[in-house]
Symmetry: C2
Amino acid sequence: MKQLTVELGERSYPIYIGDGLLAQAAELFAQRGISAKSPLLIVTDTAVGPHYLEPLAAALRAGGYTVAAHTVESGEKSKSLAVLQDIVATALEAGLDRKSAIVALGGGVVGDVAGFAAASYMRGVKFVQVPTTILAHDSAVGGKVAVNHPLAKNIIGAFHQPELVLYDTATLRTLPPREVRAGLAEMVKHGLIWDASFVAWLDENAQRLLALEPEALQYGLFEGCKVKAHVVSADEREDDLRAILNLGHTIGHALEAVAGYGELLHGEAISIGMIGAAKLALRLGCDPEIYTVTKRLLQHFELPTRMPPHLDTDAIMTAMSHDKKFKEGRMVYIVPTAIGRVEINKSVQAELVRDIVNELKEEA
Amino acid sequence: MKQLTVELGERSYPIYIGDGLLAQAAELFAQRGISAKSPLLIVTDTAVGPHYLEPLAAALRAGGYTVAAHTVESGEKSKSLAVLQDIVATALEAGLDRKSAIVALGGGVVGDVAGFAAASYMRGVKFVQVPTTILAHDSAVGGKVAVNHPLAKNIIGAFHQPELVLYDTATLRTLPPREVRAGLAEMVKHGLIWDASFVAWLDENAQRLLALEPEALQYGLFEGCKVKAHVVSADEREDDLRAILNLGHTIGHALEAVAGYGELLHGEAISIGMIGAAKLALRLGCDPEIYTVTKRLLQHFELPTRMPPHLDTDAIMTAMSHDKKFKEGRMVYIVPTAIGRVEINKSVQAELVRDIVNELKEEA
Ligand SMILES: NC(=O)c1ccc[n+]([C@@H]2O[C@H](COP(=O)([O-])OP(=O)(O)OC[C@H]3O[C@@H](n4cnc5c(N)ncnc54)[C@H](O)[C@@H]3O)[C@@H](O)[C@H]2O)c1
Ligand SMILES: NC(=O)c1ccc[n+]([C@@H]2O[C@H](COP(=O)([O-])OP(=O)(O)OC[C@H]3O[C@@H](n4cnc5c(N)ncnc54)[C@H](O)[C@@H]3O)[C@@H](O)[C@H]2O)c1
Ligand SMILES: [Zn+2]
Ligand SMILES: [Zn+2]
């Protein structure tokens, strides 16, 4: 088992990563002071629950915890206020009180909606992340929780740090391969923004990661979480530094919005977005290696690098203007300045971004 | 204009109380660093908006602010996730960003739902309370915000302190008399839990308060807010002391739930609850004056002191067990120990409370 800590003063918490950790849940919960006197609620989804709900609930019950469960539909649609209301109904019926914890067993969707339930039930109860996707090495760390509004993604939420993150890599074996690849896109992002030697390792170990080789997986998740934890520790509420986590996300979010959520997975969209950011770096005169390495890396991970050409450039530009406001034709953009380093550029010309969007449709 | 501060370290904020303060809104907002570069959203209700929305919006616009508005139905039903979703839609359409503020113009209902919107829109934006009821001298101070769930009141919420509270006592002139009395019940509560000399003043000035005499009103609201601010400063997140604010609320909440919200206003229910607490004090051997003074005071304010006899005692006891869990036939109860002083008694016998509920139906 690997362990690291997200340093946030009195809100600091550990991340445990290991194969078969679900079985140790009760012990790890107790170590973190989660009371067995108050009932727990596990929130999971219809794809994850059938595999892992009973093992987790059983492990917790064996350790003296009272456990209730709530299963939401698999998929982004579950990040809604309606689902929040349902989760709260189950919490009330199960008698959750102010000392209870809500446990998210699933990917980023479950983590985000269950996390917002934990942030707001009785004005805040404890929260535990049990991520079951690779992407969730990103979403489960850092305390951002939210649901979507019909008009905007992640717009209703909170900062609510978990008590612990319990990452059982054995759960990843049932993850569909496309979700594996998409999750690895965020791992690549963590390398690109912070750690050149991690990038080199990723470049060499892509096949082992795609094959979910336990040792490689644990190392990659550990390093990815480490970058995320570091950035979050320095800037919990996204006042400045935390924005670097958005590498590839400006174009990525716009793509998701325009393609309609579903055509592109989040990780696929940001893969294309990271190519866009690398192209932007070229245009701004940075080392051409940034582009070559980024491209090669994403190809090793079998991730898309080309924008679906049928997507309308104007629509993408408009979507971007919602995401990050243009001011006088300029926008904020996370641009790589070297492998393992990015800057927050606050005056990238929107016209330049438009050129790049068009180029991305021609990308090999 | 009177002013006091809720001391909460870097979350400290001022409360301004005065006749005609709406006109000074822009200046007071600016003093608190609310940016005129980002749009504001005023949330109000259908009873308050027609009187005060335009004056407030105009005052803010004159000071350079961009102002949008959202009006909810008057009444407790507006404290819902559905209304939250509507408020967020308006916020998005109006272009509110992370530097924007949401302004609650209304009573406790508007304050609670707009406050939860401010706590969760983009994971938290600034919040301003502009209370227009007497009860809101309680609800607008302290940062508790929430919406209701069909199964439980105030169960989905946050702690989100405002940047300032702007209390224009001129707005109270349109408040229906029954709402005036109900609001004064919370003022009486603040005296009873903390300040014997304020209780004496209330006893002598009931008629002036009922008549909304400006000087008396401002003094009463100031003293009431002072008690609330003091308690909140000592215990922001209700770990211990803050519970004393629940004097009269154990029975009060149960009464509201059983009578169905509407038959009894909140202030009326806690008036009866405070008589219950005083009777409990008698049974526990405290000074009989507690009961006589409490009773006389509430009668001066023309508040009910008798429980509607048609309400079923069993139903009330069950409702109470939801509110504050019984443990082995005992419950937590806020009991006066003298005028201006209460204790948190953690082992009041449920059977004793049942007797008192029955007695309250016979009360004069
Ligand atoms: N809070 C944050 O900081 C943050 C950061 C990044 C992304 N996110 C959010 O995360 C979400 C995406 O996360 P995700 O990719 O994990 O999505 P997800 O939770 O939807 O999981 C992807 C799919 O895999 C299924 N699944 C999950 N674990 C499985 C397993 N072990 N075996 C089989 N199937 C499994 C899910 O049911 C789903 O169909 C988005 O909503 C995004 O907004 C949040
Ligand atoms: N957050 C807290 O700490 C806290 C504390 C106590 C109560 N509350 C909540 O406050 C709510 C009760 O507050 P309230 O009594 O202010 O209720 P309210 O907001 O419903 O106002 C009472 C009625 O008066 C109307 N009204 C308000 N101001 C008016 C004015 N100036 N002129 C004419 N009509 C006016 C309203 O439309 C409503 O019909 C409850 O939901 C309760 O849960 C919250
Ligand atoms: Zn992402
Ligand atoms: Zn009250």
